[in-house]
Amino acid sequence: MDLIGKKKFDFIKNRKMAYIISVVIILVGLISIIFQGFNLGIDFAGGSLLQIKFDKSVSTTEVRNVLSEFNLSQSTIQNLSENEFVIRTEKIDSEQRKEILSAFKENLTNLEVLRVETVGPVIGENLKKLAIYALLFAFIGIILYITMRFEFKFSIVSILALSHDCLIVLGIFSLLQKEITISIIAAVLTIVGYSLNNTIVILDRLRENIKFKTREPFENLINISINQSLSRTINTALTTIIPILALYFFGGNILSDFALALFIGMIAGTYSSIFIASPLLVEWNKIFKIYQKGTKTTRKKDKK
């Protein structure tokens, strides 16, 4: 039985199309990041958050009218249901908050305070720094690990795929002006770690094929490897996306943006491991003029 016979799709032939799609999405995201930036949540920008539940249904306009009495009409008001609201304001102290709450009670209806968050600018700056350190640490750690385990060009394309996934998540969050909170950074970090899984599966298979199918041209080997791994790539992605969707739909509003970031990251990650990472190896060989035809390319510390 010849495994080449199982070849179904030609990923190499159509790789330019895949590059264009990715580049366009990333460019749109980058333009959004540069021109409208991120909607930083209070974790990073500082400020106050108030989640309240009124006894009766109340409109966003009514809530805003009360807030404008306190010069806080610029606040973000998100209604989770007809009587539950998340209000983000500039940093207010507990005295101001008390006054606002009693104004709500007087002008609208009685309410319950579900959540209060206040983050001062010092803490916000600090968290920003920590988030950047965490991302750098994870990136460098993973780069070192794959460089150690794979040969150089494999780790380069993995890192490109990884950056691709992160940029898409961050770009879409900027585009939709979704709030960047600590949870979103956690989601991006998870994607950094997880999106490599599928890339590793395919690259591992490629390395094996390079060893055993020495007569195939390199481009075919890549195609074969992607096709051989296709059903597991799709299934592992699906099984991860299913709980993420459950989280999005049932997990409540605090986790829904977190789940959304993971979802986008998973889609981008699966796409990049199939359409971007391994096909980029062809480009690598072209650039460095390597005619890889059955050259033995093995893992550095392969015992076999």
């Binding site: 039985m1 209060v116 206040t118 709980p243 049932f250």
Partner: protein, 396 residues
């Protein structure tokens, strides 16, 4: 079944058994984070003012006074820690009214008596007791008592202001402006403001614990009411169960007999995660629940890689047993590499994350380790046992 295999099966059961023992009863063994049980996470900073510069001694006294206030509030298992030179971390789990609690902690609570010219006649520095009570019109009042020196000062102050207003202020805000009828010499007084029962109680508490020696600012406050905490738990459980059931069904439909084994491994994995959380006394937060749900999906990945490999080996017309061994051997490295990268990201989160996010890093890391263990050990043993009894056709 040979001896080594029996031993391996037995050890897997022992591990599962230990995990169950560790996590039972669930509600006692799993520590819930502030975001799930309700409560407050507050970071305070002592700040310099011209009159009261911050020094080490002042911060320690602030710590002491805050501890005193929290004790009097009756919070069980609070965390009160000094962080660095000028910061204090306070965590109050399970408080019914986090807002008021945080309010009480950060108040300077400087009591002053001011004459009509606005000059301070004396402060609350020499108070020895304060308690809330009711006057003859059943209005809430606060009764205060000075020590000897205070009584003398208070006597002077009242003597000097007979027939005039002697305003009582807290942190510069007037709470009462009584007219002094006659000098009070026994050092006992009552404050009749516009109190509710609660606000009188709180004022008495603040006065008893004394004023903070320096100004304290709230740098960060994250408070969750008990309703939202309970709601988060039930939503988390709902999402988890939905995710778990969908995955169990998916695996069963797609991988049939193999899927059943993966489902078994997944359930074992979940038991191990809960057991590890309980055993390590880790705190489960809302992001932590999200991490567990995410693990449900990641845990079956290794099984999928293994099964697909075994299927390939079977296609090469190897025996079932030989295919299992080859499948595991070839999938192992991939599984290992893929999990290490996720673990690196989780570690980064653990080091640099704060509060609730650390909970996510913890469950994710435990989840990755547990899923690797179940895939490589549990799945393998089950497959070996099954391979001895059934042909591979029965599973596909």
């Amino acid at each position: 079944m040979n001896w080594t295999k029996t031993l391996r099966v037995a050890s897997v059961f022992v591990v599962i058994f230990i995990a169950i023992i560790l996590s039972f009863p669930l509600n006692e063994k799993i520590n819930l984070g502030l975001d799930l049980q309700g409560g407050s996470h507050v970071i305070l900073e002592c700040v310099d003012t011209p009159n009261a510069p911050v020094d080490n001694d002042a911060v320690n006294r602030v710590l002491e006074i805050i501890r005193n206030r929290i004790d009097q509030l009756g919070v069980s298992e609070p965390v009160i820690q000094r962080q660095g030179a000028t910061r204090i971390l306070v965590q109050l789990p399970g408080v019914e009214d986090p807002e008021t609690a945080v309010d009480l902690i950060g108040k300077t609570a400087l009591l002053e008596f001011k004459n009509e010219e606005g000059e301070t006649e004396l402060t609350g520095a020499h108070l020895i007791n304060a308690k809330s009570s009711f006057d003859q019109f059943s209005r809430s009042i606060v009764l205060i008592e000075f020590d000897k020196i205070g009584a003398k000062e208070f006597g002077e102050a009242t003597k000097n202001n007979v027939g005039k207003v002697l305003a009582i202020t807290l942190d510069g805000k007037e709470i009462s402006a009584p007219v002094v009828q006659e000098p009070i010499l026994d050092g006992k007084a009552q404050i009749t403001g516009k109190f509710t029962v609660d606000s009188a109680k709180h004022l008495a508490l603040l006065l008893r614990s004394g004023a903070l020696p320096v100004k304290v600012e709230i740098l960060e406050n994250r408070s969750v009411g008990p309703t939202l905490g309970r709601d988060s738990i039930s939503k988390g459980i709902k999402a988890g169960i939905a995710g778990l059931i969908l995955i169990l069904i998916f695996m069963l439909i797609y991988y049939k007999g193999f899927g059943l084994i993966a489902d078994f491994a997944l359930v074992v994995c979940m038991i191990l995660i809960v057991g590890a959380l309980a055993g390590l006394k880790a705190t489960l937060t809302l992001p932590g629940i999200a991490g567990m749900i995410l693990t449900i999906g990641m845990a079956v990945d290794a099984n999928i890689l293994i099964f697909e490999r075994i299927k390939e080996e079977l296609r090469l017309e190897k025996t079932f047993r030989a295919s299992i061994d080859a499948g595991f051997n070839k999938a192992f490295r991939t599984i290992f590499d893929a999990n290490v990268t996720t673990l690196i990201a989780a570690l980064a989160l653990f080091y640099f994350g704060s509060g609730a996010i650390k909970g996510f890093a913890v469950t994710l890391s435990i989840g990755i380790l547990a899923s690797m263990f179940t895939a490589i050990v549990v799945t393998k043993i089950v497959l070996e046992v099954v391979a001895a009894k059934f042909s591979s056709k029965a599973l596909l």
